[in-house]
């Protein structure tokens, strides 16, 4: 019998395989912060099971849980039955969009990207006091959060690249629009085209990006295949900085937060740590690290659609920083920096930086 919805077609067997054990509750950041069974991976699968057996239909009533998932993959990594909840959620969101049932923030984001260059509908990017669209060996692609929400961190990273005498250029970048694929929509072809054209025009051999989401999008989405086809490498800034010597150290107690998009999604755990250990001999791991890292709560569109819950999740992660007594939390994802910084309480005296930003501050002597 034909499944009524695509998610049932493609993933029905996995949905049925959920044995309801509830172990995902131990790792799901949304459940962990909100303590609401409907938010966990199990809750979502139980709801989809009832859709599959016809007890209920996909509808607006399901938005609150189906669109509240950071796609962090922790559930999948811990599921004894191997249910790929993130993929199922992505497909279910597409099915929901098709029937016209979507979270207004996500619908809004899709509309905004039809008419603007970035997810915030801002018209004026920071100029970062640098020329754009020059000819150079590397393109530095900032990403929307870095351009419009974490401009200080971005400025610092660019200053670092200058110190290291990297031959790079900024471009009049537009949103990679990779996020739309997680929200039930598709990459915006017009924006993808613009980015590709701008990158190609610089003659660069590689694109360095601070945002692991952008690098993942450029590397794996067919709309950006032309870049790979033309031999242009896409690397995250930690991969670029690995192996370099900076000649600075800090004696502060430093820890590292694995961004989901760099860690669980790309398997990049050690490169950032190599860099951090070089500049911070006093390094301590957070209780949940590497594949077990606790999501900061910003991903999967959750920061845009459910900001209060998103910040509550970030607060939970920061408790782990308090636990190890770190003075500094380093990561390399503007979205993580943004959400964690918003969540940090005044009484928490540690500082939050991107690795590249922190290295620059050390070199500047201002940290």
């Amino acid at each position: 019998m034909e499944a009524k919805y695509n998610f049932a077609d493609r993933f029905g067997d996995q949905v049925l395989r959920c044995s309801k054990c509830g172990l995902c509750q131990a790792v799901c950041p949304v459940f962990g912060a909100m303590l609401r069974p409907s938010y966990s991976a199990r809750g979502k699968m139980l709801i989809l099971k009832e859709v599959m057996d016809g007890t209920i239909e996909l509808s607006d009533e399901l938005i609150e849980t189906l669109f509240q998932c950071t796609i962090c993959k922790s559930c999948f990594e811990n599921c004894p039955s191997g249910v790929d909840v993130p993929e199922i959620i992505r497909q279910t969101r597409r099915d929901m969009v098709q029937i016209g049932s979507c979270h207004p923030a996500f619908e809004g984001m899709n509309e905004v990207l039809k008419n603007h260059t970035n997810i915030y509908a801002e018209d004026e990017p920071e100029d970062f006091e640098r020329e754009r669209n020059k000819k150079a060996k590397y393109v530095y692609f900032i990403g929307c959060v870095g351009s419009y929400r974490e401009d200080e961190a971005t400025m610092s990273t660019l200053d670092l690249l200058d110190r290291l005498k990297v031959d790079y250029t900024l471009i009049d970048e537009v949103c990679c629009s990779g996020v739309l694929e997680d929200l039930g929509y598709q990459i915006n072809e017009r924006l993808a085209r613009k980015n590709i054209d701008l990158i190609l025009a610089t003659g660069a051999k590689a694109v360095i990006t601070g945002c692991p989401y952008c690098s993942r999008t450029f590397n794996s989405k067919p709309q950006y295949a032309e870049l790979n086809d033309k031999g242009i490498k896409i690397i995250h800034v930690t991969q670029f900085l690995k192996g370099m010597d900076f000649g600075v150290k800090t004696d502060k107690l430093v820890t590292y937060h694995d961004p989901c998009d760099l860690g669980r999604h790309c398997g990049i755990y050690e490169e950032p740590r190599e860099i951090v250990r070089k500049i911070a001999p006093r390094f301590v791991e957070l209780r949940h690290n590497r594949v077990d890292a606790l999501c900061c709560g910003a991903g999967g569109g959750v920061r845009g659609a459910y900001p209060k819950n998103s910040i509550a999740m970030a607060r939970r992660r920061l408790q782990e920083v308090e636990e190890v007594g770190a003075d500094v939390v380093l990561t390399e994802c503007n979205s993580c920096v943004h959400n964690l910084s918003n969540a940090k309480l005044r009484k928490q005296k540690f500082r939050i930086y991107n690795i590249s930003q922190f290295i620059n501050e050390l070199m500047e002597g201002t940290e």
Partner: protein, 459 residues
């Protein structure tokens, strides 16, 4: 549900702790068993006063109340079969006191087992029961079903550690039981009545638990057996060999087949695999006991005995046992896991009997378990599409219960009766016992609002 009741609930817990949304009603219909039923409303109380007000209200309007922790019950204990209110205790999640000088902790029911273990670690103490669901299950749930666990062989189960409780009764009054002393025989032992009562006599709102100093030394080994009866004897002999291991786990040939299919462990396809662990305050002590275990195993034709000489090696030996949960659903889509428990000396007979039942009904059964305390976990595997197959599964399940009871055992060693075993209660408890239990239920809950429909106590 009466709108008056909903409004009154909203007044008690406020909007952010109340839901009648479809998504919550669906999620709260289920636990980790095969049972399901929709509630009318879900509430998350923050404190005892709210629980008291909710029960008073529910009692007045005769609305069923089903308490819920992590919802990981394997018996349907927390499925709201008569609708009504799901009382989600997760937001009462504070560790109130840790007093190692009095060897106790006081916790709210929503505290996750693992949360307590981590808090106790820095004091050099631990809470022994160690249920396999400990990463998510809550202490309220552990107490309500008297949960067992991996260390039951040496350390007993949850009931052995509950010093006292605060319980809200059906009429909203708040009862304190037990004491903060290591020993107390003053008045009736009401604590023991509530432990394992599966939410049918009252709602637990505070728990005082005894904790133990944590033995730092461990010894671990695994062994293979070509004959399942040998494995059974090895285990029962170990238990009378003059030492007390802390863990004695068993995996049968079906489990091994499943593990080999679902992982790259490449275990030898033998009849049974046993894992034993001893602990002590000195390594000599732990090793002495492990030596005895291995002697017994060797006497019972064990082969391939592997002993761990470091924490990493021990972790490696545990991989098979810990991975089993992950591979069951690769064999068949569905499974029912039971926890029929028999006297230790009856283990060989029980194991052979379960094999015969599997053959009789042509239903694969992968048996594992905490055999050190006679607690089997037969996993009955099925696809769940063919009603004929489901009928055979039901018969096999019933036969396993009957066999266990015939051997002087019990329907459930640690998962509780809930819904799953309710119909079999009269097979284990005679009419005198059943009537006493019903009378107790009527005394505590004359309107039958507390987790109704469970434990087979409905007349």
């Amino acid at each position: 549900m009466d709108e008056t009741v909903k409004k009154a609930l909203l007044d008690i817990v406020r909007e952010e702790n109340f839901s009648d949304s479809l998504i919550d009603l669906i999620s709260d219909s289920y636990d980790a068993s095969e049972h399901k039923h929709r509630p009318d409303v879900a509430v998350w109380p923050q404190n005892t006063e709210q629980v008291s007000a909710i029960l008073k209200l529910a009692n007045e309007y005769k609305v069923p109340v089903t308490p819920r922790g992590a919802g990981t019950s394997l018996s349907g204990t927390t499925v709201p079969v008569q609708g009504g209110i799901v009382l989600d205790m997760l937001r009462m999640d504070k560790i109130l006191e840790i007093r190692v000088e009095d060897r106790l902790v006081v916790v709210e029911p929503g505290v996750v087992y693992d949360q307590l273990e981590k808090a106790l670690d820095s004091y050099g103490f631990f809470f022994p029961p160690d249920p396999a669901s400990g990463v998510v299950s809550t202490l309220g749930g552990n107490v309500a079903v008297n949960a067992g666990g991996l260390k039951g062989v040496k350390y007993g189960t949850t009931k052995d550690y509950v010093l006292g409780l605060e319980v809200v009764l059906a009429n909203g009054s708040v009862l304190r039981t037990g004491s903060r002393c290591m020993k107390c025989v003053s008045g009736y032992d009401l604590t023991k009545l509530f432990v394992g009562s599966e939410g049918t006599l009252g709602v637990i709102t505070e728990i005082t638990l005894k904790v133990n100093p944590k033995p730092p030394a461990i010894a671990t080994c695994t062994a293979y057996f070509d004959d399942m009866a040998d494995a059974g004897s090895a285990i029962s002999e170990t238990m009378r060999s003059g030492i007390l291991p802390r863990t004695l786990e068993f995996l049968d040939d079906q489990c091994i087949v499943a593990l080999n299919q679902g992982t790259d462990l490449n275990l030898p396809e033998v009849a049974a695999m046993v894992l034993a662990e001893t602990d002590g305050f000195t390594q000599e002590g732990a090793d002495y006991e492990m030596d005895k275990v291995i002697e017994v195993f060797e006497r019972n034709n064990a082969r391939g005995i592997t002993r761990a000489y470091s924490p990493e090696e021990a972790e490696h030996l545990w991989t098979a046992r810990k991975s089993f949960g992950g591979v069951i659903t690769r064999l068949k889509n569905n499974f029912i896991v039971d926890d029929t428990t028999v006297p230790i000396s009856k283990l060989p007979e029980m194991l052979t009997g379960v094999k015969a039942i599997s053959k009789r009904y042509n239903v694969p059964i992968a048996t594992m378990g905490h055999l050190g305390d006679g607690n089997l976990h037969p996993n009955i595997l099925y696809d769940g599409i063919d009603p004929e197959e489901i009928a055979r599964v039901r018969k096999a399940t019933a036969d396993i219960f009957k066999l266990g009871l015939e051997l002087g055992g019990t329907l459930t060693g640690e998962h509780g009766i809930g819904l799953a075993k309710a119909e079999f209660m009269p097979l284990e408890h005679d009419e005198v016992a059943m009537e006493v239990m019903r009378s107790i239920k009527r005394l505590f809950d004359p309107n039958n609002i507390l987790n109704p429909g469970k434990m087979g106590l409905e007349v």
